[in-house]
């Protein structure tokens, strides 16, 4: 894999020498200077991780800002972004880089130092991982980074097997930064590079959190943007944004919420283009656009949805929910203030987000139970309502949500329990989908082979070295509208089938 990919960056390099007018030497020097950068933030990562992993998505975004800033400092925040090539080195591929012989660079001494550091760090990590592996539930999602050395070890063992493609899902595999080794990123604001890293490592997860983080990064981009001479702010900003978006999409496929947010922003960008304001004013306006979008479409919508669902929750209800959704969390915590009810959090394998949900609900003082999706039928008898979050609502009324939601909806439907899907209208999408195969996202297949809570390594892993089992970890599934009683949006309770109407009237409202 490495050999194949090593050619790609080289080609890119050749092109870029001409493009930014730097000599090879200068470029190398720059690169080497930056090479150190990912190392330093890593150290910071470890320190900051507990904070970054903070449950509420809002804080997710805000803390990650700090992190981004740290990165930026290390990368000597450029005056003009476009002039500077930046290199992202994935943690996993660090060692590979060294082997690849990039050390031909000029500042050898400096490189050696870095290598030494890495070696030491790795040694420490191995010791760590040995200890941590012995612990039963050592690495919850919360602690991914502090314990991150152990999953990394897995990844190194299994790179080829994990690349094995399952034929039915061939179209879903795409070249991501994760499996491509190193590459050169040009014209991308450092905030977006950091963000991409957080997306691909699933540090920032959940439709809302990802969108909030994206919009925060977008604001940074607007703030730092310097219009190239003899160019128009809006046009050049748009092209710069496009570059950044392209980079982010390489890290992880965009969520519908993010696509919608970017589209909304671009509409305003083109509208602003025709006005004759000064650049500073335009920037100010654009930042306002982002702020208004965040407060209207995300926060106010969530509050409105929360109020509506609260009215439907009665005392002594048993509410079933699946996985972790920031919106459902907000609803339950808000409703808890004046209603007494029980929550059953159902967990699905893969990301094991339910634990995080459970943690926060229990912290809020809600009476909770926790069970795996296998026992959902058993729990459903006692339930009064099922609340589900959504990734997106599709034009045919189907709900795209975290893998497993469709099963919960099906079970609830067969028990005649009302299923409420809570979803802000900014996640509505014109796409039509009847199955979860045509369009989906693939997660890490190793997450299926490994049980990260098990004390011992999964027996599947030892098998996998010779004849690897095919494994697919789909991120989302599609719930047909028949199983959903109502969708709760900021516009009120709606049947699923009203999505096209909302999509039709929404542009008018804007």
């Amino acid at each position: 894999m490495m050999k194949e990919n090593s050619t790609a960056p080289k080609n890119e390099k050749k092109e870029k020498v001409g493009a930014d007018g730097l000599t090879k030497k200068e470029r190398r020097a720059l690169k080497v200077a930056e090479k150190g950068a990912p190392d330093t933030p890593n150290v910071k990562d470890v320190k900051k991780q507990p904070a970054v992993q903070k449950p509420s998505n809002i804080s997710d975004a805000s803390v990650s800002k700090k992190e981004r800033r740290a990165l930026k400092v290390n990368q000597k925040a450029p005056n003009n972004i476009s002039a500077k090539p930046t290199e992202v080195t994935k943690e996993e591929s660090k060692e590979a880089d060294v082997n690849e012989g990039k050390s031909k660079a000029l500042l050898r001494a400096e490189r050696r130092e870095i290598q030494e550091k890495q070696r030491l760090a790795k040694l420490a990590a191995k010791e760590n991982s040995l200890k941590k592996d012995a612990e039963p539930s050592g690495d919850t999602k919360n602690k991914i980074k502090p314990v991150s050395r152990s999953p990394r070890k897995y990844k190194k063992e299994l790179p080829k097997e994990s690349q094995k493609k399952v034929r039915l899902f061939n179209h879903l595999y795409c070249e991501t930064l994760n499996n491509r080794g190193t590459c050169i990123i040009n014209n991308v604001h450092p905030t977006f590079i950091a963000l991409g890293e957080q997306y691909s490592s699933k540090t920032i997860i959940g439709s809302n959190a990802r969108c909030l983080a994206l919009l925060a990064a977008l604001k940074d981009l607007i703030r730092d943007f310097v219009t190239p001479p003899k160019q128009e702010l809006c046009r050049s900003l748009e092209s710069s944004l496009n570059e950044s978006v392209k980079h982010l999409q390489k890290c992880r496929k965009f969520a519908v919420s993010m696509n919608n947010a970017i589209r909304h922003f671009k509409v305003h960008l083109t509208q602003l283009n025709s006005t004759d304001l000064s650049d500073a004013d335009k920037k100010c306006k654009l930042q306002d656009v982002v702020d208004v979008y965040v407060s209207n479409e995300i926060f106010t919508a969530a509050t409105s949805i929360s109020d509506q669902v609260k009215a439907k929750i009665s005392n002594n209800d048993v509410i079933v929910t699946y996985g972790c959704s920031s919106l459902i969390k907000k609803i339950l915590i808000d409703s808890h203030q004046d209603k007494k009810f029980k929550v059953v959090v159902i967990e699905g394998r893969g990301l094991l987000e339910g634990r995080e949900m459970l943690r926060q609900l229990v912290n809020a003082g809600i009476d909770c139970s926790y069970c795996l999706i296998n026992s959902a039928t058993f729990v459903m008898n006692k339930a009064n309502k099922v609340l589900l979050g959504a990734h997106s609502l599709l034009a045919n009324g189907s709900v795209m949500a975290r893998n497993g939601s469709a099963q919960i909806a099906l079970i609830a439907h067969s028990h005649n329990k009302p299923v409420l899907v809570c979803c802000e209208t900014y996640k509505f999408c014109e796409r039509v989908q009847v199955d979860s195969i045509v369009y989906n996202e693939l997660g890490d297949p190793n997450k299926i082979l490994n049980i990260d809570t098990a004390e011992e390594e999964s027996p599947l892993r030892s098998v996998s070295s010779k004849t690897p089992p095919e494994s697919v970890n789909l991120m989302y599934d599609v719930t047909p509208p028949d199983f959903v009683t109502a969708v709760v949006t900021e516009l009120g309770f709606l049947p699923c089938t009203s999505v096209p109407v909302v999509l039709r009237i929404k542009p008018v409202k804007e």
């Binding site: 439907k312 409420l420 109502a486 009120g492 709606l494 049947p495 089938t497 109407v501 009237i505």
Partner: protein
């Protein structure tokens, strides 16, 4: 107008004219707007809401009262009222109100016309309780020289089915009164079910006289079409998740609501979920249940 006056006007309208509580509520509100001496739109809106609450609190079905009042408020305040004197404003609003009322009264004819297409020669129709919409549709079909037979439930507790039977007899439509408990028995012999509605929920389901849900379930099981006749002023932004989720003032009259133990009381209405309904025949067209929400979204957002 004070509370007593509003109630008196409302019950007078219901008693003297043969209209549904929804229309009566609109007429009462219109009268109130005419005589009221408030000087701002804000106040007018407030007094109208309070008046609606008074009417809901009487011993009439509340479902259509609340939805029609809300629609009226929406309709008359939609006019661009900026920069005109309040007296002028009031005149515009009263005009619009009259227009709204006229539209509603015309609606019934439209429903009857489209519903009569569903009635064929030799049809056997089951209906529940007394509904003006259904009655008009049946009369319309009779006027078209169609031969059909109607089965009417007694419809406990107020036996309003008997009144329906009398009216059908007067119109010369052959009808049979059946027991509420005979719904299952009769279901295999009928062609379709036709009922009215007190209110139409956003889900596309209906709120109607108790027993409607039972009929709908039987009809679904026996695979008979279930048609609902409802004027669009009965559409409300309500989304019941089940029977227990219906507002209390829909289910019980105000005198019953004063009792503490409501569990022991018989509810007046039930909620029929949209998946039991084949079509809703309304003055804005023949809709599938999911179409109701589309119309409501267009109306309110």
């Amino acid at each position: 107008m004070d509370e007593a006056e509003i109630r008196a006007t409302f019950s007078k309208i219901i008693k003297t004219e043969d209209v549904s509580p929804g229309i009566a509520a609109i007429k009462t509100l219109m009268q109130m707007v005419k005589v009221s001496d408030v000087t701002t739109l804000q106040e007018l809106r407030k007094t109208m809401t309070i008046a609606t609450d008074y009417m809901r609190d009487m011993d009439y079905p509340a479902a259509s009262i609340s939805s029609s009042s809300e629609l009226l408020l929406r309709f008359i305040s939609l006019a661009s009222l900026d920069g005109v004197a309040f007296s002028e404003c009031k005149r515009i609003m009263i005009d619009r109100g009259q227009m709204f009322l006229k539209k509603l009264l015309d609606g019934r004819g439209k429903i009857a016309k489209s519903a009569s297409k569903f009635i064929l020669d030799g049809s056997r129709i089951l209906t529940h309780s007394r509904s003006r919409g259904v009655l008009y549709a049946l009369k319309e079909a009779m006027g078209q020289d169609k031969k059909f037979e109607v089965f009417v439930t007694h419809s406990a507790p107020d036996n309003s089915g008997e009144l329906m039977k009398k009216e059908l007899d007067k119109a010369g439509i052959p009808s049979t009164l059946i027991l509420d408990s005979a719904i299952g028995y009769i279901m295999e012999t009928i062609d379709f079910v036709m009922v009215g509605a007190e209110g139409v929920a956003e889900s596309g389901g209906i709120v109607n006289k108790i027993g409607t849900f039972t009929i709908a379930m039987c009809a679904k099981e026996m695979k008979k079409p279930f048609y609902v006749m409802a004027e669009s002023f009965k559409f409300s932004r309500l989304f019941p998740l089940g029977q227990s989720d219906l507002p209390l003032d829909y289910k019980y009259t105000s005198s019953v609501r004063k009792n503490m133990i409501l569990d022991k009381e018989d509810p007046l209405v039930d909620y029929t979920p949209p998946n039991y309904i084949t079509l809703l025949i309304t003055d804005i067209g023949i809709l599938t249940p999911s179409g109701v929400s589309d119309e409501l979204i267009k109306l309110y957002i």
